[in-house]
């Protein structure tokens, strides 16, 4: 059974005159596998990520067809709580992902929403911070962090939910070299833990992380490297 699967996904934004951005796209990611999606700017890579995470059509409107499955369960029939604990999404811009004064608050937000007890939250916060090598930043104010550190904290905030699927939308694009190395290590560690990882990445630098590579062009996805 695939961890994440998108079947026959088509999408068009109403404001673009109904012109299709994605047409009958099929993608899948197995447990413990890292899949990279690449393609030119504006072809719909982020849109595909949003559809696979359920953000489209729940939060962003658009004409979407096809089905998304998490471990064989249709996303359409899953509650928001189930979606949040199954799939974690890391976006490109760290500034729009942090909204609490301190790192600890930021990491606690997701587990609090899922009504986890305090000892469990504490354990998850510790683990997530250790994963991104930022244990000593627990009580630091997020505004004082560099862009790379903020992105690592945003990743830790996603990891504190312990999702079984990770979707990373150009997560490396604003990182310094030290943060790139930490995020790469985190991705490898998550793979070893059996998480399914779907990431949008155009840089050749990170191809080694991938088990398979998809290319998106003219609304179609094709597997270029297996």
């Amino acid at each position: 059974m695939n961890a994440l699967e998108g079947r026959q996904i088509s999408f068009s934004y109403p404001r673009h005159g109904g012109q299709a951005l994605l047409t009958n796209v099929n993608v899948y990611v197995r447990r413990g596998e890292c899949v990279i999606l690449r393609g030119p700017s504006g072809v719909g890579k982020s849109t595909l990520c949003h559809i696979l995470a359920g953000i489209i059509p729940r939060s962003i409107s658009g004409q979407v067809s096809g089905e998304v499955f998490f471990f064989g369960e249709n996303l359409r029939f899953l509650s928001l709580a189930r979606v949040a604990e199954t799939v974690g999404v890391l976006f490109q811009n760290p500034d729009s992902q942090l909204f609490f004064p301190t790192v600890e608050d930021e990491l606690a937000f997701g587990p609090e929403n899922l009504c986890l007890p305090r000892p469990e939250m504490d354990k998850r916060i510790n683990e997530a911070l250790a994963m991104v090598h930022m244990e000593e930043y627990r009580l630091v104010e997020t505004e004082t962090l560099s862009l790379g550190e903020r992105q690592r904290i945003a990743l830790a905030a996603v990891l504190s939910l312990q999702p079984r699927i990770l979707i990373l939308d150009e997560a490396f694009s604003q990182l310094d070299s030290q943060s790139v190395s930490v995020v790469r290590d985190t991705i490898r560690a998550q793979k070893e833990l059996g998480r399914a990882i779907f990431m949008v990445e155009n840089s050749e630098e990170h191809v080694d992380l991938a088990d398979r590579i998809y290319e998106l062009q003219d609304g179609q996805v094709r597997e270029v490297i297996s």
Partner: protein
């Protein structure tokens, strides 16, 4: 008192700001100002930090003082030029009272700005205020600086393109600012949309209830302080209405 429970600080802020709105007599305002200043320092705000906050409001405060002095014609004339009274005691007193009112409100803002917003959020929730409302308030307060940063970024971008703001006539400058407002507002809307998506992706609103990692508890000292503030509030407002 620096680590006092946010609920105690909120009560203190409530007393100070209510007093600032209710008291009109100069001596009462002076008393409230001293009470506010004392509380501000005890709650851990340094004089330097308060001074920095006041400096930003100084031009506005001076304008308000000048307007009161010039336009309030009450009390005894203090300065008479060629038989025409230009300065009245009532105007000076009213101006001074308004300045003190500003000071009290700034003191309250300084105390709350020093407090961790998450602690305030938890305290408000414990007071029975809906988490959603408190959270929205917190996010809105965090958005204000980002809004002003976007506006100053837009101004810097304009200046980098060769527009010298200092040399532009006032009317044109106002038109320029008006044109900048729309993209800045649009940027804020985009940011808020991104924020909403991230919050939802992390399960916000997924369940009817939520737990809280941070806990705030009233200590014995907090209860004592609350009792003192309550008594002080009741006494002072009572006295003001009866004898003020």
């Amino acid at each position: 008192m620096k680590r006092a429970d946010p609920r105690v600080k909120l009560l203190w802020v409530l007393l100070c700001t209510t007093g600032a709105l209710v008291f009109f007599r100069p001596m009462w305002m002076l008393g409230l100002t001293l009470f506010s200043l004392g509380g501000t320092l005890l709650f851990g705000v340094t004089l330097q930090a308060l001074g920095r906050r006041l400096r930003g409001f100084l031009p506005l405060a001076l304008v308000i003082l000048a307007l009161h002095i010039l336009f309030v014609r009450a009390g005894n004339p203090l300065v008479i030029i060629r038989g025409y009274p230009v300065l009245y005691s009532g105007g000076v007193m009213r101006g001074a009272t308004t300045l003190l009112r500003f000071f009290v409100i700034l003191c309250s803002a300084a105390v709350m700005a020093r407090e961790n917003t998450r602690r305030v959020l938890t305290a408000l929730t414990k007071l029975g205020i809906s988490y959603l409302f408190s959270f929205m308030l917190m996010i809105a307060l965090r958005f204000i600086p980002s809004f002003s940063t976007s506006f100053s970024d837009a101004l810097i971008a304009l200046q980098l393109r060769g527009v010298e703001l200092k040399k532009i006539p006032f009317g044109q400058k106002i038109r320029l600012y008006k044109d900048l407002v729309l993209p800045v507002v649009a940027d804020a809307v985009v940011k808020s949309k991104e924020l909403a998506i991230v919050m939802e992706a992390r399960g916000f609103g997924a369940l009817p209830t939520r737990t809280s990692y941070l806990d705030v508890r009233m200590t014995f000292a907090d209860w004592v302080l609350t009792c003192i503030l309550f008594s002080l509030g009741l006494l002072s407002f009572g006295f003001y209405y009866l004898f003020g």
